[in-house]
Every structure is written in C-alpha cells, then in structure tokens.
C-alpha cells in the first residue's frame, strides 16, 4: 500500500493535535502531503506546531465545550475547503491520579464523557455535512471518521472507570453511527493505538518504563495505513 499517494491532498482534521498520538498523526499526515487541520486547547502549542509544519492549519478550541463545536467545524471546513477524514483523537483520562469508580467524583466522570464521548459526537455531527459532501463528490470513496479507542473500552481495568466507560461508549457510538451513515458514504471506525509513550499515559501510569511503551509515531503510521486501506476499499 502506497500511503502517500492515497493520503496526498486528502483533507484531514485531527483533534488533540499538539501532543502524543495527535501530534504524531499531524506530523505524519504533513509528511504524506495531506492537507491537515488540527485542534487543541493551548494557543501557544497550536501556534508552535503550526509554525513547525508549514501549510498545516492550527485551530484553538476545546472539543469538550459545546460553544466551540461549530466554531471549530467552521474553521476546519474553511481551512481545508471541506473534509474527507475526521480523527477524533483528543481524550481525557478522567480523574488524575486514577481512582476507583467509587472514589470518582461525578464531575470527573462527566468531564471524561464530555471530552471522550460528547465532544466527538458533537464535532462529528457538525462536520457530517462536509463529510457526506466528500462522499458524494468522490463516488466509490467513503469519507471517514476515526474515533481513537482503547483496550480499556473492552477490558475492565480497575482504576480506569471514567476513561474506560467513556471509551466503551465511544466504541459503541462508532459502531451504531457507522451502520446509520453507511448509506451516505460515511464510515465510522474505531482505532486502538495501544499503550503509547504519551502525556496521557504518563498521567495514568507515572512510573511506567517508556521503553516498554509504543512510540506514538508507530501507532500513527499504523492508523494512516488503515486509513489508506479504508479509502481504497
């Protein structure tokens, strides 16, 4: 599979694009000459990454904030002139340090759901117009939504309640939405990147040996290969 030829000029948006897997995805997409817009909360980091990658569009906003949803969708559509692939990558761990569910404040669970479930739901919904337009304008090529998952969505790891429950909900949302949107040419995927050496993982497991963890760039490469395969399918 020649990922570059498939990804070149593809219009891709990545949330949580200034650290961890998101940053690795933005860099890899840029290297493949895709057209990239990325979203993150911190203006400073957004501008630094945009400066590092000429042509990439940095957008400041918080996907967990309902008021930001359409502002972000507007800027993504404007930056790329439409959208072919949305990668909902921004994630929240929930309580830090990790806590048993019985010690998790309900606000912390709500925060995790806002970032990991409701945020991706809202942003995807606001961008379905451009995603379905992409599918209509490229007969035979689906538009894609990729929701970044986790094995914590499937395996009940003690201490990962807020994160695991929110990712489990996102996984099921992806499956249902993919069924509903298939007739409109939009596919919704889940992708489990594995245990990576990222800021989120460091929050969860501060004493983990980085050498035992995947590099985000490797997970990014795997995801782009998957995207290239899906687009060619």
């Amino acid at each position: 599979m020649n990922a570059t030829s498939t990804l070149q000029d593809l219009r891709v948006a990545v949330t949580g694009g200034t650290s961890g897997l998101g940053l690795a995805l933005v860099r890899a997409l840029h290297a493949h000459r895709a057209r990239v817009a990325f979203v993150a909360r911190g203006a400073g980091r957004v501008h630094r990454v945009a400066a590092e990658l000429p042509g990439a569009h940095g957008i400041v906003g918080d996907i967990a904030n309902k008021l930001d949803t359409h502002r972000l969708a507007l800027q993504i559509n404007a930056a790329l002139g439409g959208l072919d692939v949305l990668i909902n990558n921004a994630s929240s761990l929930g309580p830090v340090p990790l806590a048993p569910l019985a010690d998790t404040e309900c606000e912390a669970l709500a925060d995790a759901l806002a970032t990991n479930l409701i945020g991706p739901f809202r942003l995807t919904k606001a961008l379905l117009g451009s995603l379905s337009a992409s599918a209509r304008e490229h007969p035979g090529r689906a538009a894609l939504v990729v929701n970044i998952g986790s094995d914590a969505a499937v395996t009940p790891y003690p201490g990962w309640g807020a994160y695991g429950a929110s990712k489990a909900a996102l996984l099921h949302l992806s499956r249902i939405w993919s069924e509903e949107l298939a007739e409109h040419g939009v596919r919704v995927l889940s992708f489990d990147p594995g245990d990576m050496d990222t800021p989120l993982h460091a929050l969860a497991v501060p004493d983990a040996d980085p050498a035992s963890l995947k590099r985000p760039a490797d997970s990014a490469r795997e995801l782009l290969a998957r995207i290239a395969t899906e687009l060619a399918a």
Binding site: L74, Q75, G129
Partner: protein, 400 residues
C-alpha cells in the same frame, strides 16, 4: 403572514402547502414532504454553512459603535477572504427592526474598524451610504478564527433570542460561505435523507453563498439579491442528467439552489465548476433545469417572491398567498414551506424546459476552475451597478 419567532428548524407542527402545476392547492404536515416527491426525482440542496456574518465593533475615527454585516465576497475560495462587501449599521442590534436602525458614523475609504479580535479597513464606499467594501488584516486562518470567535449569525427582530450557529446551520452544512442560512434546507434531517433513499429519490448538493435577505433600506433591498458565487459539483451535474434520463423531476430546495442551477444552465449545457449568479429570476424567466421548488413562504415584494413567479402565475400565487394566510402558515426563515411545481400556466417556460430536458446533457470532464465564470467572479458586483472590487471614479479620495 405571521412570522415564525422561534429558531426551531423542524417544528413538529410545520406545515407544507403544495401547489400543483395546474394551481391546485394541497395542505400537508411538512413532515410528509417526501410523499410529494416521486421515485426518480432528484432533490438538490444548498450545503453552504452559514457564517456568523454580523460583527460588532468600533469605527475608530469617530469612536462610535458599528455593526458590520458581511454581505458579499468575490469567490468561494477559502483563502480568498480578505475583502468583503458589507452592509453597515450604527449602534444597536438585531432587536431593533433593520428599518429603524441608526446609520453608522459617516465612513471614508481608509477608515479603520476593530471588530472584536478582527481589524478591518474600509476600502471603498459603494454607491449607497450603508454599503462598503472592506478588507480584513491578517492571514486567512486568523480571519476565519476571528469571524468564528466574534461573529454572530445575522438575525432580524422577529426572532428575539440570540441565534447560535447551530440554529442556522442545516444538517448538511459544509463550506461556511452563506451570509444568511439557506433556510429552505432546514427541512432536511438524516431521517428524511434516509426516507428519500428508501423511496428511490436522489439527493445532491451545490454550494451557493446565500446573501442577506434584507438590509432595512428600501433602495438597497430593491437590489437584492446581490451577486452570489456558487460551486456546482460534477456529481450534481451527473445526478441531474441521470434524473432527466429516467424522467424524474429536479426539485430545488430553496431559492439559492434555483438561482445557481438556472444561472449555470443559462450559459449553455450544464457544467460543473464555479459561477457567479448575477441574474434575477422573475415572472419572465425561463426555467431550464428546475421543475419544482421547495421554499419557505415568502411575501409579495421580496426578491424570493419574485423568484417564485418564475414557477407559477400571479393568479395562482395570489390564491396560494390567501391560503397561507387563511390557514395560519408562518413566514420567515423558521417558518412553514411551500412546494411549487412549475405551472401549466407557465406554458412557454415548460415547453422550453421540456425541450431542454430531452436534449442530452453533455458531461463536463473537468471542473472549470479557470473558465469564464471564475474569471468573472473576480469582478463581483455586490449589487446592481455597484462594483465591489474595482475602484470606480466615484470612489472617494482618502483625503477629505
């Protein structure tokens, strides 16, 4: 007609008035719209997302408040957004009827405006005190971010509560290029799109920069709609040809779709690409593509109503108006809808159009980004004879 005052795109009690080609009227809940479309038909919607095109700020030279309503742009290109045509108002907001809004402080070319995080400069006064060309400072990304952060949807006094972007984006909203919502598209939701597929009714989109529907000034309103750039995708050209081949009708969802398709068709065989709709459709217009329109309810005297006269005779429209009023239909962007089939009374148009329909529609092989329409788009006239993008001898000098 009474205005719809609440920003609900699909009220449960929304109504539809169906006007048949012979002028017969039928009353229906709007939720049954799909039942009035036939297998083989094609529904075409405008997928433009609506900009938060109202920007309030300060006119620096006078220090006085100003509201800028973005109203025109020469193309749809996302990186070509430094210059806009705009309608300007003095202090106040949407709660005052536009007709009653104060004029802004007298503007001169070169005047600076701060609009929240955005900085703009008056490039030219156009030929009306409320119409200017202005340019934003910064990169396209900066300007988009500033508009996204600071802008509000253009709204009018009949809706009291402040509109959010989600109130004015249709379910299929994509490229943010409309200055007001293509509100006929409010009828769409994914359930309806699913029903259309189930019933063998095709769906396609184009992107048309729907402009302001009112400025509050009679002279300016008489010139609406301003010139509006649009993009017609190849897939939509193909879908129209396919509908024609199978004998289906082309149904335009809204006046903007009608304007774009008929503009594109006025230049010869329908081709994909960019264009600038600068024509006004009215009773004397020939409809070459659109067989029926689904639209909001419009009142006589508006440019939208003028466009409906291309579909039905004045006698039929007058009966429809009376029926809308008698049956409590609501008007404006969140109001009820009409479905008007091109009338038997429009004999001339219908015959012409039928001829057009039986002509094979040649396929354009490539999008015509460098063709005549795109070139013309660089000379957008915002309204009537007003040239927005080129200096004219009437342009005031920078010196007083």
């Amino acid at each position: 007609m009474k205005p719809a005052r609440h920003p609900i795109q699909r009220p449960r009690d929304a109504k539809l008035l169906v006007v048949s080609p012979t002028g017969l009227l039928q009353y229906s809940p709007r939720s049954e719209l799909a039942q009035f479309l036939r297998p083989g038909d094609l529904l075409v919607a405008n997928d433009a997302a609506t900009l938060p095109a109202s920007l309030d700020g300060i006119h620096l030279r006078s220090g006085s408040p100003i509201e800028v309503r973005l109203a025109g742009r020469r193309s749809l290109a996302v990186d070509d957004l430094r210059e806009f045509c705009a309608v300007v108002f003095g202090p106040g907001d949407h709660r005052t009827r536009t007709e009653d809004r104060a004029a802004p402080a007298p503007l001169r070319a070169g005047d600076a405006l701060t609009l929240g995080p955005l900085k703009a400069r008056v490039l030219r006064l156009l030929d009306h005190p409320r119409l200017v060309a202005l340019a934003f400072e910064g990169t396209p990304d900066d300007i988009w971010a500033g508009i996204a952060k600071h802008g509000k949807p253009v709204q009018y006094a009949h809706v009291h509560e402040p509109l959010a972007l989600w109130d004015v984006w249709t379910r299929v909203a994509a490229l943010p290029v409309a200055f007001e919502p293509p509100s006929a598209g409010f009828v769409l939701d994914w359930q309806l799109l699913h029903s259309l597929k189930e019933r063998g009714i095709a769906f396609a989109t184009l992107t048309h920069a729907a402009g302001l529907s009112s400025t509050g000034d009679a002279a300016l309103d008489a010139r609406l709609p301003f010139d509006e750039p649009y993009h017609l995708p190849q897939a939509t050209v193909d879908a129209i040809a396919a509908a024609r081949r199978r004998g289906g009708r082309v149904i335009a969802l809204g006046t903007t779709v009608t304007r774009a398709l008929e503009h594109a068709a006025s230049r010869g065989p329908l081709r994909a690409g960019d264009g600038l709709a600068d024509q006004k459709l009215s009773a004397t217009s020939t409809l070459r593509i659109v067989d029926a329109i689904v639209s909001g309810t419009h009142e006589p005297g508006t440019s939208h109503y003028e466009l409906l006269r291309a579909f039905a005779s004045d006698a039929v429209l007058a009966r429809a108006d009376a029926a809308l009023i008698a049956n409590g239909y609501r008007t404006h962007e969140f109001g009820d809808s009409v479905l008007i089939e091109r009338g038997a009374a429009r004999q001339g148009n219908a015959a012409l159009a039928r001829n057009a329909a039986t002509r094979p529609v040649p396929m354009a092989t490539k999008e015509t980004s460098t063709s005549t329409p795109a070139t013309r788009a660089t000379q957008l006239r915002c309204a009537g004879s007003t040239t927005c993008w080129e200096s004219k001898k009437t342009t005031p000098s920078l010196r007083p």
